[in-house]
């Protein structure tokens, strides 16, 4: 079972692409989704995202992500439905009405968020975190400190989640009932556990910092990376494609 944003090994085209190309593609793709409100076009982009996910065998992870984004977009959609009164009136509200336009806007927002999120998340699933940070440092000249901060954060998420699980199991063994009384009760019981978790995290982070320092963290420069990240024809093709999509999106508006 892979964790959040954890690399899934593979040999698909997306796996082999240049990390910088993938990242640029995903970021431009996400911006592009916000350049247009054309539902058909956004739908097509969502399908394109799913095709990309299928091509590298990440459908399961993608559906998991889509579910999470859907919950979030539902809140936005609800707000849109209740606040934007446009199109043919369907339901009257004290401050306006819910119209066909409001529903269209809500659906567009949901589809847009889903479409924008998929390539971004896929990038993390098909790229080793170290390749991503090394290439960003090498090609995009991002200072190594920032890249390292980001990779360490992602690296430590599963470690801390494991710690939390350990603390909760220890509490369960002493009779704390995390499985009773639903979500609110669970959160209420978890809050006091954040203190020991915080203490152990700070300690771990401190030893990680020392460990990085004794292995020459301060000497690292842009040229240090051993692996090279050349652009292949398909990387350039992908970037051309996404720029073309931006143009189409802007034209369609």
């Amino acid at each position: 079972m892979n964790g959040f944003l954890e690399y899934v090994p593979g040999t698909s085209l997306l796996h082999r692409m240049n990390p910088v190309a993938k990242l640029l593609f995903a970021v431009i793709f996400a911006i592009m989704c916000f350049c247009t409100s054309n539902l058909v076009f956004l739908g097509a982009m969502l399908v394109l995202g799913l095709v990309m996910a299928a091509s590298c065998g990440m459908m399961r992870q993608t559906f998991g992500l889509m579910k999470a984004v859907f919950v979030f977009s539902l809140i936005l959609a609800l707000l849109l439905i209740l606040t934007s009164s446009s199109g043919e009136p369907l339901v009257d509200l004290p401050w306006g009405y819910i119209g066909t336009g409001s529903i269209l806007a809500a659906v567009t927002t949901s589809v847009r968020l889903e479409a924008a999120a998929i390539p971004l998340f896929l990038t993390f699933y098909v790229t080793k975190m170290s390749d991503l940070s090394n290439s960003v440092v090498k090609v995009l000249h991002v200072p190594y400190k920032y890249a390292f901060t980001f990779t360490s954060t992602v690296h430590f998420i599963p470690v801390f989640m494991n710690d939390m699980k350990g603390i909760m199991e220890a509490q369960t063994a002493r009779g704390v009932e995390f499985d009773q009384g639903g979500f609110v009760n669970k959160v209420r019981l978890m809050v006091p556990l954040c203190v020991p978790l915080l203490v152990s995290s700070v300690r771990k982070t401190n030893s990680a910092a020392i460990a990085a320092e004794v292995r020459g963290f301060n000497l690292r420069t842009r040229e240090s990376g051993y692996k090279q990240y050349p652009f292949a024809a398909y990387d350039i093709a992908a970037l051309v494609l996404v720029i073309a999509l931006v143009v189409v999106a802007v034209i369609l508006h």
Binding site: H155, P158, K204, I210, E213, V214, R215, G216, S224
Partner: protein
């Protein structure tokens, strides 16, 4: 290689010194085991040798510690690290990447090892630890023992003059612990590396070390060859260090005047010694036979 003179250290947050009046000289190429009861100051002693004290843990530092002629107080941690390679106690926090290969590359890249040499170093270090097959694995999917070997290999690749390990076998079963020590001993012999290892398993460390250092309440109680240190099994027991049972047995026989040979570090040596004592009697013959079968 490492010289510690009148070293006393108090962590900023504590009142009493954790280690006091330490004098220790570690010659180049030696294999040194440090042991002692929990909280006796073993780790603090290693932090002093690899520069983490005073560079990362502030406090009152008295005396001097020199590594390969460099005073640890005047040399930056990064420079000390190029001489002393350290494997920490908490392996999870030492690991900075998620793939074995990247973990191996990390230190090599940072210390500016020429790129045409990196591949060879990575291959050799993985081979030395017997984990060449793990090269492309995700570290999170490895067992505790495998992670430990990856952590050690990533330091070996840097070819430090001194290798410092804090309880490298804490998470390992007896067979893997022995394997790690065998690999370390072989590596040190082949490369002339000085090895300093903090280890609770005294029987194991006595087999491999040239010098055994016993730390008790922040001071060095013994620093001698394992045989000479283990001769004091009664005193060791008093300070919370358990000798191998075979050693304790033979030391008692020696105290009773039954045995007068060298200190036995393990069952095999005790067996031979007993065969010698018992000579021609049936128990001796039975022991000799069982030894022959083994």
């Amino acid at each position: 290689m490492i010289e510690i003179r009148n070293f006393t250290f108090t962590y900023r947050e504590s009142d009493a010194p954790v280690v006091r009046d330490i004098n220790l000289s570690i010659p180049a190429g030696s294999f040194v085991g440090i042991t002692g009861a929990a909280g006796s100051g073993k780790s603090t002693l290693t932090y002093a040798m690899n520069g983490i004290i005073p560079h990362c843990y502030p406090g009152d530092f008295f005396g001097s510690v020199t590594v390969d002629g460099l005073d640890t107080c005047e040399t930056s941690l990064t420079d000390i690290s190029q001489i002393v390679g350290s494997v920490c106690q908490d392996i999870d926090s030492q690991i900075v990447t998620s793939i074995v290969e990247d973990e191996m590359l990390y230190g090599l890249e940072n210390f500016g090892v020429p790129h045409n040499e990196i591949e060879k170093r990575v291959e050799e270090a993985l081979e030395d630890m017997g984990i060449s097959d793990l090269r492309d694995r995700v570290i999170a999917s490895l067992s505790g023992g495998q992670k430990q070997k990856v952590a050690i290999a990533s330091i070996l690749a840097l070819k430090p003059k001194v290798l410092m390990l804090d309880e490298p076998t804490a998470e390992l079963d007896p067979a893997s612990s022995l394997q790690v020590f065998q690999l370390l001993a072989r590596y040190a012999r082949e490369h002339g590396t000085t090895v300093v290892v903090v280890e609770q398993k005294i029987a194991l460390v006595s087999e491999f070390a040239d010098m055994l250092v016993i730390v008790d309440k922040g001071t060095i109680r013994f620093a001698d060859t394992p045989a000479n240190v283990l001769a004091h099994s009664e005193e060791l027991l008093e300070i919370g260090v358990n000798c191998p049972r075979a050693t304790t047995l033979m030391n008692r026989l020696a105290a009773d005047g039954v045995y007068n040979g060298p200190v036995c570090r393990n069952v095999e040596e005790a067996c031979y010694a007993l065969m010698g004592i018992l000579g021609g009697n049936p128990v001796g013959r039975a022991l000799a036979e069982s030894e022959a079968i083994a």
